[in-house]
C-alpha cells in the first residue's frame, strides 16, 4: 500500500513536470515552425534589414522595430542598472539588517505591480512631462526607457543583493583590517567579488525589458520609424506583434511569428549568457 502510494506520487509528479517542460518546448517548436519558413520566403535581408513595414503591400522589413527595441532596452538599462546596483549595495552594506529585511521584500513586491499600471502612469504623468519640457509627442523612446528602467529595478536589486550578500564577510573584514574605509572595501573588494552576480542581474533585467509589451505599447508611441532622438516615438518588436495580431492573416500572420522568432532568439542568448556568468562564478570557487 505504502509502496504503491510512493509510486503513484512519483509518476504523478513526473507527468506534471514533463508536461510543463513539454508545453514550453511545443510553444518554441510552433513559433519556429510558423516563423522560419516565412523568413526564407521573404529573405533574411528583406526581413531583418529593410525599413518598410507594410504587410498590405507585402513589405515586411522589421529593421526599425529591431532598432527601437535595442534603443528602448539600452535606455532602460542606463536608468535601471546603476539605480538597481547602487540600491543593492546600499541595502547590503549601509542599512542595518532588520531594516533590510523589511525593504528587500517591499522592493520585490514592485515586481508584482501589473505592467499596465506602470504604462498608465507613463501615459498620464511621464509623457505629458516629456512633451512639455523636451518637445516631441511625449510618447517616446525616453518615456519607454524610464518606465522600463523602473520596472526592471526589482530584478536588478534582488539578484544583486543576493550576490553581494554571498560575498564572505571575511573579505570585508580583510579589507577593513588593512585600513580600508567602508566605501573603499565596498568598491575595491565587495563589488569585485560579486561582479558576476551583478552582471547576471543586469542581463536578466535586459531580457525582461526587451520582452515587456503592455507598458511599452502604452508609452512608446508605436510609429514604425527609425528613431533619431530620444523624444521620437518608436514601435518595438513586442509592440509590433501585439498591435498587428488582431487583423493579421496569411503572410502578415507569419511575419508576426517570425518577429517572435527574432525576440525568442535574442532573449535566449541573453539568458544563456546570464546563466553561464552565474555558473562561471560557482566553478571558480
Amino acid at each position: 500500500m505504502n509502496l504503491n502510494g510512493e509510486k503513484i506520487a512519483k509518476y504523478a509528479l513526473m507527468t506534471v513536470a514533463f508536461s510543463a517542460v513539454a508545453s514550453l518546448l511545443l510553444i518554441a517548436v510552433f513559433i519556429f515552425k510558423e516563423g522560419l519558413p516565412f523568413m526564407f520566403k521573404v529573405g533574411l535581408r528583406d526581413f531583418l534589414f529593410a525599413s518598410d513595414w507594410d504587410p498590405m503591400a507585402g513589405k515586411y522589413g522589421i529593421y526599425p522595430m529591431i532598432v527601437a527595441s535595442l534603443w528602448v532596452t539600452l535606455g532602460a538599462m542606463l536608468i535601471g542598472a546603476p539605480l538597481g546596483v547602487a540600491g543593492a549595495i546600499f541595502l547590503n552594506e549601509f542599512v542595518p539588517k532588520p531594516v533590510m529585511r523589511v525593504i528587500k521584500p517591499t522592493i520585490e513586491l514592485l515586481a508584482g505591480i501589473p505592467s499596465v499600471v506602470f504604462g498608465f502612469l507613463g501615459v498620464m504623468v511621464l509623457a505629458p512631462w516629456i512633451r512639455a519640457t523636451m518637445g516631441g509627442p511625449g510618447l517616446s523612446v525616453l518615456a519607454a526607457s524610464v518606465i522600463l528602467g523602473i520596472m526592471v529595478l526589482p530584478t536588478v536589486i534582488s539578484i544583486s543583493t543576493d550576490a553581494i550578500g554571498a560575498v564572505p564577510n571575511s573579505y570585508r573584514e580583510g579589507a577593513l583590517a588593512l585600513g580600508a574605509t567602508r566605501w573603499q572595501s565596498v568598491y575595491m573588494v565587495t563589488i569585485k567579488a560579486a561582479r558576476s552576480g551583478i552582471i547576471a542581474s543586469i542581463i536578466l533585467a535586459m531580457g525582461r525589458a526587451l520582452g515587456e509589451t503592455m507598458a511599452v505599447i502604452m508609452v512608446a508611441g508605436n510609429t514604425v520609424k527609425i528613431p533619431h532622438s530620444v523624444t521620437d516615438p518608436v514601435r518595438t518588436l513586442t509592440a509590433n506583434i501585439a498591435l498587428e495580431m488582431a487583423n493579421a492573416t496569411g503572410m502578415a500572420r507569419e511575419a508576426l511569428f517570425a518577429t517572435g522568432v527574432v525576440l525568442f532568439v535574442v532573449i535566449m542568448i541573453l539568458n544563456g549568457v546570464a546563466l553561464s556568468t552565474i555558473k562561471g562564478r560557482v566553478r571558480r570557487k
Binding site: 571575511s170 573579505y171 580583510g174 577593513l176 588593512l178 585600513g179 569585485k192 571558480r284
Partner: protein, 256 residues
C-alpha cells in the same frame, strides 16, 4: 630577566559585551614593544575577542559594547577623536582563514599602500618585493605576481596575507588570530620564522590554540579562560612554573 621594554599596548579593566553576555571580564594587560606575546586558552576564552578589539574589528557587530580602555602608545583607541582607519593601518591583522582578496598577488600586497594613496609604480614594486621576502613567499611567486591570489595554496595564501599586512608603511603592531591553524608544518615553520625576525621592527600578538607554538615563538604568554586573563608572564615561566593551578593544568594538557 629581560630588560624593561616600553609598553606598546596597555589594556585597563577592558570589557567586551556581546548582547547580554560578557565576553571579556576586565582585562588588564601591558604588552611590551618588539616582543611576541602569545595568547593561549581554550576556545571561547575570549582570545579572539581581545585580539579583534585591538584594531576595533568588533565595531562591525552592532550588538557589541565595550567598557574600559585600550591604549596604543598611551592614546585611547576607543576615544571618539581616534581615527579607526588610521588605527587599522598601524595595527594589522592576520586571520585564521587566509583571506586572499579576489585579485592578483601583486594587487593583494599593494592593497594597503594603494589605500594610503601610493601611486608610483616603482615604489609599489619595491613594496611587493620586500613584503613578500619578509613573509618568506617571494621565491615561490616572484615569476607569477599577476596570477590571482586565490589560486595559491592555503599556506601560501596565509603568507600572502602576512605580506599584505607588512606592506603597510604605517604598521607598528601585527595581530595574528590562529594564523597556522589550517596550515601544513612547513608553512607553519616559515611563518614562525618570519615572526621571530619581524619582532625587531614590530610588536606581535599571536593568538594560538597550539600551546607548543606559543612555547616556540612567544617571548611572553598570556593565558585566557572564560573571558578572564588568568596569568601573564615570560613564556618559560608560564610553561614551567606558572603561579596559577589552572594555567598549569592547561599547558600540561590536562584540559582544553
Amino acid at each position: 630577566m629581560t630588560p624593561k621594554l616600553p609598553i606598546k599596548i596597555a589594556a585597563h579593566d577592558f570589557r567586551v559585551f556581546h548582547g547580554q553576555e560578557e565576553s571579556l571580564r576586565g582585562i588588564t594587560l601591558n604588552i611590551p614593544a618588539n616582543r611576541i606575546l602569545g595568547v593561549i586558552g581554550p576556545s571561547g576564552s575570549g582570545k579572539t575577542t581581545f585580539l579583534r578589539a585591538l584594531n576595533r574589528l568588533n565595531d562591525l557587530a552592532p550588538e557589541t559594547r565595550i567598557n574600559g580602555q585600550v591604549l596604543l602608545d598611551e592614546q585611547d583607541i576607543y576615544a571618539p577623536s581616534f581615527n579607526v582607519v588610521t588605527l587599522r593601518k598601524r595595527v594589522g591583522m592576520l586571520f585564521a582563514l587566509p583571506v586572499a582578496l579576489p585579485m592578483s598577488i601583486f594587487e593583494n600586497v599593494v592593497y594597503g599602500p594603494r589605500l594610503s594613496g601610493v601611486r608610483n609604480r616603482k615604489r609599489l614594486e619595491e613594496i611587493v618585493e620586500t613584503s613578500l621576502k619578509a613573509a618568506f613567499l617571494w621565491d615561490e611567486v616572484k615569476d607569477r605576481l599577476m596570477m590571482s591570489g586565490l589560486r595559491l595554496s592555503g599556506g601560501q595564501q596565509q603568507r600572502l596575507c602576512l605580506a599584505r599586512v607588512l606592506a603597510m608603511e604605517e604598521l607598528e603592531v601585527i595581530l595574528l588570530d590562529e594564523p597556522c591553524s589550517g596550515l601544513d608544518p612547513i608553512s607553519t615553520a616559515k611563518i614562525e620564522e618570519a615572526l621571530t625576525i619581524l619582532k625587531a621592527k614590530y610588536t606581535i600578538i599571536l593568538v594560538t590554540n597550539n600551546t607548543k607554538q606559543a612555547a616556540r615563538v612567544a617571548d611572553e604568554t598570556a593565558f585566557f579562560l572564560m573571558g578572564d586573563l588568568v596569568e601573564h608572564g615570560p613564556t618559560e615561566k608560564i610553561f614551567t612554573v606558572p603561579d596559577d593551578q589552572r594555567t598549569n593544568d592547561y599547558v600540561t594538557g590536562r584540559f582544553g
